[in-house]
């Protein structure tokens, strides 16, 4: 996502607001603006998740939606799975730390330590790749979510995520893959993959999210892909309107 640019945003304000300010004044305001914009804020407490999913459960029961079981399983098992993974990572770090402390200074053992760290990273990657191929959508969502906990993501993972985005039979899995990939949109291959995936989407939610993303990225190459979707005469009216607006802004 592109940051909201200070000069672009405020440069066209009337002179009494912007251009009459001294250079020092503008520089101070810009400094405050940067702090405000870059303040990511805290993560919400876990209790907020619990309250939300309890509310959703009640609401779903009221509306007679039987799919809810999968949501609760997804929310709880995903959290439990992440905890288990964190414990495993903690144990691995402890072993790595112990090895490091025991053999510090020895370059041979430093190499062993680096090897161990790489192996752990590979193990996590293999786990993610295996889980992405599971038949259960919940497990595939867990796999995609796990990617965000990885220190670095290689092309094997991004290719797999792009494949999930284009071909996974479940819309929820695709949407989570899209949200994850959006975080790597600065990688040219990922960006191209995101553009290519547009014409594979049937879900209005994903089509609109992709349109928002392409707008944020100011990605003109996506226009052709959106036009392919627009050629479908059965396309949802709201999606049609949104895609048309997106194309107008991009061009």
């Amino acid at each position: 996502m592109k940051e909201k640019d200070f000069n672009k945003t405020f440069g066209d304000l009337p002179p009494e607001d912007f251009s009459n300010e001294s250079r020092q004044e503008l520089s101070d305001i810009k400094r405050i603006y940067d702090i405000v914009i870059n303040d990511a804020g805290p993560d919400p407490p876990e209790s907020m998740d619990t309250r939300f999913y309890e509310m959703l459960e009640n609401e779903t029961l009221k509306s007679g939606n039987k799919k809810f079981g999968s949501i609760m399983t997804m929310a709880t098992s995903s959290a439990a799975f992440r905890r288990a993974l964190n414990i495993a990572a903690g144990i691995a770090l402890f072993i790595a730390g112990w090895l490091g402390a025991s053999f510090s200074g020895n370059s041979g053992n430093k190499k062993q330590l680096a090897l161990l760290t790489n192996e752990l990273s590979d193990l996590k990657e293999s786990l993610v790749l295996t889980m992405m191929k599971q038949s259960s959508p919940v497990e595939r969502i867990q796999a995609v979510t796990m990617v965000t906990t990885m220190d670095k993501v290689d092309s094997e993972i991004t290719i797999c995520l792009l494949s999930v985005l284009s071909y996974d039979p479940n819309d929820n899995v695709r949407l989570v893959a899209l949200e994850t990939l959006a975080g790597y949109a600065d990688i040219p291959e990922v960006r191209e993959g995101l553009i290519r995936s547009i014409s594979h989407q049937q879900s209005p939610l994903i089509q609109i999210r992709l349109a928002e993303l392409m707008l944020a990225l100011e990605e003109k190459r996506s226009v052709e892909e959106f036009r392919k979707i627009l050629s479908d005469i059965t396309l949802d009216y709201n999606v049609r309107t949104r895609l048309t607006e997106t194309i107008e802004v991009l061009l």
């Binding site: 702090i35 303040d39 804020g41 993560d43 609109i208 709201n238």
Partner: protein, 179 residues
């Protein structure tokens, strides 16, 4: 749109997408009050689910849900105005607790949080909305009932006020540390 059509379980995905920005919105608005921010953010998602049919799909979902948040924030502010000013001020001046190892950045944010406490509710809100990446300025204008240029002017003037307060607090803190 599937949520609007009654496919309620999709709402979980929307919640996951907006929970951080929604919590952050109220966290800044209430000056780091975690409990109140959680309550207000929960109220937003509750209302969004309850009144899902009012989302027509004509604007972004972000705009729609932050419109609800804006109304809830205004109600909260009105209630806060009814309580004693000293209680309100002590509430405003609570410092944020950031889990951040970067001391300088932590100090910046803590100072920023205190400085925000001296702004009006409207100035504070427009600054917080302005930093949400999913929202365009035209959408912030719709949420707050202004024109786009008025929103930009308001943000700029709020930034100016914030800068004055921030620098004052920074100088005071520097002088206090020297003593």
């Amino acid at each position: 749109m599937k949520v609007v059509d009654g496919d309620v379980d999709k709402f979980g995905i929307l919640y996951e997408r907006y929970k951080k920005s929604m919590f952050g919105y109220f966290f800044r608005l209430t000056h780091g009050d975690t409990a109140v921010s959680e309550d207000l953010a929960h109220a937003v998602f509750y209302k969004a689910l309850k009144y899902k049919h009012s989302y027509r799909g004509t604007g972004t979902f972000a705009k729609w849900i932050f419109h609800i948040a804006h109304n809830i924030g205004v109600d909260y502010y009105r209630k806060m105005k009814r309580i004693s000013s000293s209680e309100y001020l002590s509430h405003l001046h609570q410092e944020d607790k950031y889990e951040n190892n970067d001391i300088e950045r932590e100090e910046d944010l803590s100072l920023l949080s205190r400085a925000m406490g001296y702004l009006s509710h409207e100035d504070r809100e427009v600054l917080i909305l302005g930093k949400i990446k999913e929202l365009r300025y035209s959408e912030i204008a719709e949420i707050t009932g202004n024109t786009e240029s008025a929103v930009k002017t308001r943000i700029f003037r709020a930034l100016k006020r914030l800068k004055d307060i921030y620098l004052k607090l920074e100088t005071t803190q520097y002088e206090r540390e020297r003593l």
